[in-house]
Symmetry: C2
Subunit: 328 residues, 2 copies
């Protein structure tokens, strides 16, 4: 930095002012300094800066289940948003979602003195752990229910489920099954709830609920089961993978989609549009979610813990796996 100052014929402090976009620097000087910086390929030392500003410009992202579409994309969304805002992201991923592992990971982030933490661990267990653990930096949880002790950014899963189910109701379906995700997953529970409420609101009775595990395999099994029973005209699957499995099961069972049975997925994975037939599904907008996350975290970092929540609305994407039920 001293070198830059010398080359530009100013003091190191003026260089600092230029770097920090301080107002009281004349245009001439600013340009001279910028030229010197470019010429020397100077980069400011993060450690020294952190030492005096007491901020690391780093946020920690705690994740789990990164092989799943949702968590993986949420991570990417957060990471991109952080980078856009000039933050670095440090990540730690949980092999097992236990209080001890969570504690360890948070301790790791504290060692690094991160400025804030984003938690992407969509399990009830995590929710419980967070209520007990007390951490000294702002923390935003992704995908949890609203809770005054926690700042939360989430996709409105109930609304997403509602969108899917209401779409089927509007088409005239009255028997709408749900293939849900595994227990302990918060999103799975929320989607079940949304499915149930929407049926109730439409004055329809509860329908078949089959437990899956997010995998295409489990969707396939559920599809076979539904095809055999033959008592529904539509299925709402809690993710696209399971919808894919169900589609295949129906095709094997000789059921035509959407003529004989309608299918709605959830996630809008890139493949969804290229399935045969293209899958009607629910888009969650992970980029947006990541951006909201950073926004909340920045707010909490500036103003202290808010306990606020930011909810992203999912969007129904109608493709070709849904239609009105054919006559009985």
């Amino acid at each position: 930095m001293e070198d830059v100052a010398k080359l530009a014929g100013v003091s190191h402090q003026t260089v600092s002012r230029v770097l920090n976009a301080h107002p009281n620097v004349s245009t001439v000087t600013r340009e001279r300094v910028e030229k010197a910086i470019a010429e020397l390929g100077y980069r400011r030392n993060t450690a020294a800066r952190s030492l005096v500003t007491r901020r690391s410009q780093t946020i920690g992202v705690l994740g789990s289940d990164m092989s799943h579409y949702g968590p993986a994309n949420t991570l990417l969304g957060v990471q991109q948003a952080a980078r856009d805002k000039g933050y670095f992201v440090s990540m730690a991923s949980l092999d097992e979602v236990t209080p001890a592992a969570i504690q360890d990971a948070l301790e790791y982030f504290m060692m690094q003195s991160v400025d804030g933490i984003v938690v992407i661990v969509p399990h009830e267990t995590m929710f419980e752990s967070l209520s007990t653990i007390n951490i000294s930096v702002p923390l935003v949880a992704v995908g949890f229910g609203v809770d005054e002790r926690l700042s939360v950014a989430a996709v409105n899963q109930r609304m997403g489920a509602s969108l899917a189910v209401q779409h089927l109701v509007d088409l005239g379906h009255t028997a709408i099954a749900h293939v849900c995700g595994p227990p302990d997953w918060i999103d799975a529970a929320a989607r079940i709830d949304g499915w149930r409420r929407t049926l109730a609101q439409a004055g329809l009775p509860d329908s078949v609920l089959i437990r899956g595990d997010w995998s295409a395999e489990s969707g396939y099994r559920a599809g076979l089961e539904l095809a055999a029973a033959g008592n529904v005209t539509a299925v709402f699957a809690a993710n696209d993978q399971m919808a894919l499995g169900a589609l295949r099961a129906f095709s094997e069972a000789g059921l035509r989609v959407p003529l004989d049975i309608s299918v709605v997925g959830y996630d809008d994975q890139p493949e969804a549009a290229y399935l045969v037939p293209p899958l009607t599904t629910v888009n969650q907008g992970f980029k947006e979610l990541g951006a909201r996350c950073m926004q909340m975290l920045l707010f909490d970092m500036a103003n202290g813990h808010s306990g606020a929540s930011s909810v992203v609305n999912p969007r129904l994407v109608v493709r070709s796996t849904t239609a009105s039920p054919s006559g009985p």
Copy 2:
């Protein structure tokens, strides 16, 4: 730190010595200091430490295609190894694998003054970019071919493919198709190569090669195609997803696995063991790969660029989708 020193009745330097496990500290003093540290919940300031040691204890991990099993798990492996070695990991993921995006991400890491970089971008494009770009910290690339300009940690894909194909050859198969991954993916090319060489070594002619895109869908289509042609008794799929798709296609086509046709996958995803029938596949040992990566990076960080390479040997996992071909 001064507080800890005061509480322990020593100088701040002695506290520093204890923290850095310096030899010349008496046991009594060490214990007193440790007690004081515990009592005050003291954590040493990373920024100040970095400022003087000139190391950030952070490595940057550049990744792409994190929704795929391979890259995602490599990242997890590296991340875990880094944490074990006391390093923090900062990540940046590429939306698109272009020289500009790569350059940007590396620049981002330089701003953060990472101590080293791990690149998990399994594309030919990345390899080309790395040859031109010159970066001032040690860099280890994952999964690339050996190149003296680059330090590389990789799974021996050719061997993995060989293991799979040789297993089929040993069972007596003579017509072994390959469903490969998309172009530009280094691993896909290496597996094709391994398949081809092993056939040649066994004195067998080249067989059917069908291009997939890693998705179950593409494996399914390939499976249908192979079933229709009926000219092979075994299939080696370049990943488990495609093997899964092929299994389904064969089942639809009335081919019994492994009686009528054998299938070998690649990756050993957790689901592989639970498919029906359980899938014979190749395990890549991502944990090990991550550990090797860190080992090489640490070496290069200590001794300057080595251009060495560390190769992890994959392991064939024989389950129930492979058997000797039935008579003609």
